[in-house]
Symmetry: C2
Subunit: 302 residues, 2 copies
Amino acid sequence: MKMFLDCLPCVLNQILDASRMSSADERLHAEILKEGFALLARYEEYHSSPDLVADMHKIVKRVTGVADPYAQTKARDIKAALEVYPALTAFLDDDSIDLTGEACSEADLGCIKMYRALKIAVTGNILDSAIMKDIDLARSLDEELKRPFVLCDLSLFLEKLRSAKTILIIADNAGEAVFDRVLIEYLGREDLVYAVRDVPIINDLTIEDARAAGVDRCACVISCGSDAPGAILSRCDEEFRAIFDRADIVISKGQGNFEALSDCGRDVFFLLKAKCAMIAKRLDVRIGDYVFFRGGHDEPGT
Amino acid sequence: MKMFLDCLPCVLNQILDASRMSSADERLHAEILKEGFALLARYEEYHSSPDLVADMHKIVKRVTGVADPYAQTKARDIKAALEVYPALTAFLDDDSIDLTGEACSEADLGCIKMYRALKIAVTGNILDSAIMKDIDLARSLDEELKRPFVLCDLSLFLEKLRSAKTILIIADNAGEAVFDRVLIEYLGREDLVYAVRDVPIINDLTIEDARAAGVDRCACVISCGSDAPGAILSRCDEEFRAIFDRADIVISKGQGNFEALSDCGRDVFFLLKAKCAMIAKRLDVRIGDYVFFRGGHDEPGT
């Protein structure tokens, strides 16, 4: 997905935050911003916002020498998510909660439970310290879980699922992985692959974080080979691209992966919370809305 | 006042807004941002944020050919302010409203009325479309008027006022001028000078706007000779600087003038609403707080 001009000031704010998390030396912050301006001027060379963001954060890492500025944030988010894990499974199992509304053509129990499982996984997307700072998970969880999807291709997904052998989930943020576990455990597929970032980038999930979140116990966790906060295929390794091409179902979590894969050319189920005005505008929803939809076939470069 | 690094992404957002107000052509917006990046990289050459902002907006004007992108916004704000003018004078005259709290050492009627007059003038500062978009004036006015100052050097001001012959008020935004009229009319000084920007810059007041707001009927309106959204003395003309130096009392309205004059070396009464996190931090108040304080003696470059 082509980036909006509005992404540029936002990216600048993001690397200023990351600089401050990496070092208290304001001279380094200034040096990073100055290098950032030069790179921002070349934004048109980039496929999408996460493509540019990856290189912007490389500046922060090089100048400060800190490889994982968000390590503590990620650990805190995973810990907070693990604490609410019992509440998430309780929510999944509570059949009295039916959020589906018009979303399901077949309102059987399996359908409303799958809806809740998807809703749990996407709700983990609130644990994104890059955009939504200082979220009080315990306070907002119940309300967020009970907000229904405003777009929901559940029937399409259930139909695909009936014949699907291989499922790939592309992960997003660290704490969110605990929420994804609930969906993965409910799907109950032995061959499910869960792809994460290759190296630390913002608060996105790496293999190490995935282990801390316990996802390795219910899925085959792999790296996508990319250092970007979104699975931009040209930055991913061959092994991942082969899995991506062959998977019967791909579920892409979060905004960054949507921006990376909206024009990838194959069916992808995008599962995300619209967290910024640009993504909300693009999806014709409001900021804060939850969506689950089949896409992936946008015109390249749009 | 030295700018914060946080001002840089904010300035970038501001010129993107101004670009869109000036032209619908996205190629021009991109061209403006690219030139903007190069200028932002040289931010240390600038005295303060309004100094940089002036040159950033020059890019917008040159590339789009639009000299006053905010003309319509300013006209709308002045119109909205003129509509509430009777409510403002009614608020001034309502002696049952005493917001002074601990602010006045002498709680006589003149004192609480002066407090209200200053409070009216500063409340006009909410009409700032560069920072606070789409404010609903009619709905928020009463609440904003009744919010007391969190800093208030009223006693100091009253003391100065007793012997002062010449008063200079440095204006800020367009619609705000109508609110300033109430203060000026209450002060009732024949020799009061009201200084405005030399050319259109963001939604700041020019001589033409001041006439539309009716300020020319109660004050001597002059240009400060500067094109910046803050009275940076090195950008102002000699006539203004002479008036500034000789005035017995200078009242500076808004954030931009505070950033420009915090280290000017003479007593200035700053009258503003803290509208961004950086100014709030600098003044040790919260965003949205109203302040009236004597300053102007900060160490240069801080």
